[in-house]
Symmetry: C2
């Protein structure tokens, strides 16, 4: 059975998240339904990351097996045709080795979190950012963020229902960029706990508002208790940007570098 890897963009707004759930629409269901039309059979799709309701993707990576060999160009076009009613699209598609696994082989995941810091309501970026009206100190947020970089027990930033075996994770890098009222957090790690990015940005925004000192983020981390962290940021600002695999160039020839 040939295996295919697809890179997806989606607007998470109308979905309950990546993963299939009864009674609500998931990106997985939409994608598997499109595949089933072509394959005449149910097909299971595996994703690099299970994004939550309202979270967007610029480069989610998935894999699936088909019984028949398809021309990748035609398969991408056909799937995009059946996906069309939904804001989900395949940016690139390739046949890959049967050893490729979108989730298990990912060595790095990049997310970004978009804040728009202004009084005026959002027009062009509704559902694409967290709208914060009180002024934020980006330098202080960036300073505080550096306490989170490295190998730590992230219990403070972990959702109650997180199914990860261990709260210990490694963050490779966090940095902020800002232009006018747009403040963006860029974050890279091998993997994340459930709600980890949104809980971290929710906490860093407390620093940005001046409610917390940067050093309090270090204390919160060390407390290893969810109650010590800040609130969970809304999903609309979160974008799953990119997944890195070993020998990226081999597996991902036309990888979207966005």
């Amino acid at each position: 059975m040939p295996r295919y890897r697809a890179i997806l963009e989606y607007d998470g707004t109308p979905f309950c998240g990546w993963q299939r759930q009864r009674g609500v629409l998931s990106i997985q269901e939409v994608f598997e339904t499109a595949l089933a039309i072509l394959a005449f059979d149910p097909v299971t799709v595996f994703a690099a990351g299970r994004t939550d309701a309202g979270v967007h993707a610029l480069g989610q990576v998935v894999h699936f097996d088909l019984k028949k060999v398809w021309d990748p160009f035609c398969l991408q076009a056909a799937l995009n045709f059946y996906l069309r009613p939904h804001p989900v699209a395949i940016l690139s598609l390739a046949e890959v080795s049967i050893n490729f696994h979108a989730r298990l082989q990912a060595i790095e995941r990049h997310y970004r979190y978009q804040i728009i810091n202004r009084r005026a309501p959002l027009c062009l970026d509704r559902n694409r950012a967290w709208h914060i009206t009180t002024p934020l100190d980006v330098a202080a947020m960036n300073k505080a963020a550096q306490y989170l970089v490295g190998h730590h027990d992230f219990t403070t930033f972990r959702a109650k229902d997180c199914q990860s075996l261990s709260p210990v994770k490694t963050i490779y890098a966090i940095h902020f960029t800002s232009e006018d009222s747009f403040i963006t957090m860029h974050i890279k790690a091998p993997s994340f706990l459930h709600h980890q990015v949104r809980n971290m940005i929710g906490t860093l925004v407390q620093v940005g508002r001046g409610t917390w000192k940067p050093e309090q983020v270090k204390e919160a981390l060390e407390a290893k208790a969810r109650a010590a962290g800040g609130p969970t940021a809304p999903p609309s600002g979160l974008f799953f940007v990119r997944v890195v695999y070993p020998e990226t160039l081999f597996f991902l020839p036309d990888y979207n570098s966005a």
Copy 2:
């Protein structure tokens, strides 16, 4: 009567354009309706540029007169509250000299045109770009664009219903930037003819596709006939970015530099 200047962002998708028209919803109507609630009187609003249906604004500038003096902070907040059901928001608001005129005193207008050049349908950027699936040669488009810079008779790029007294206009600069599948045209001029930007980009895309040679854009310009130009690009890719006035700093203290 105090005069106020407001800088507006809007998503042009649901509107018939800036200007009031019978039976359809305009940004002008939405804005004047919000103002009338506060002023207890009809108020006329003057805009720097009359954007078409579907065209967006990041920094449209308008002015209007009120009978009573308002605190600008409160006036902005109140207007944004009444505008809220619509994707229209005031980014900044200030009282200005009674001599200020949003349209007549503008000395420079900046637009940008967004193309997304990829096979996959748009998800996150629906209604925010022109989706072109055939590969475009950006360097050729940029080369061809330089024939349009300067003082010319732009009859070739002028809409039939254009009300401008003369087809002669000056373009200060056009340049393209591109990142992954995103191609953006940036253009600056004192003022534009009706549909001028969309007709120019429609023509430059012919060059990008390889249908036209860059030199044919020069010939089209010199033909001074709309039939010699390319098609009109869709409005969804066009953003009215910024308006420049003399003594910008005086009139526009917290001008959005987007």
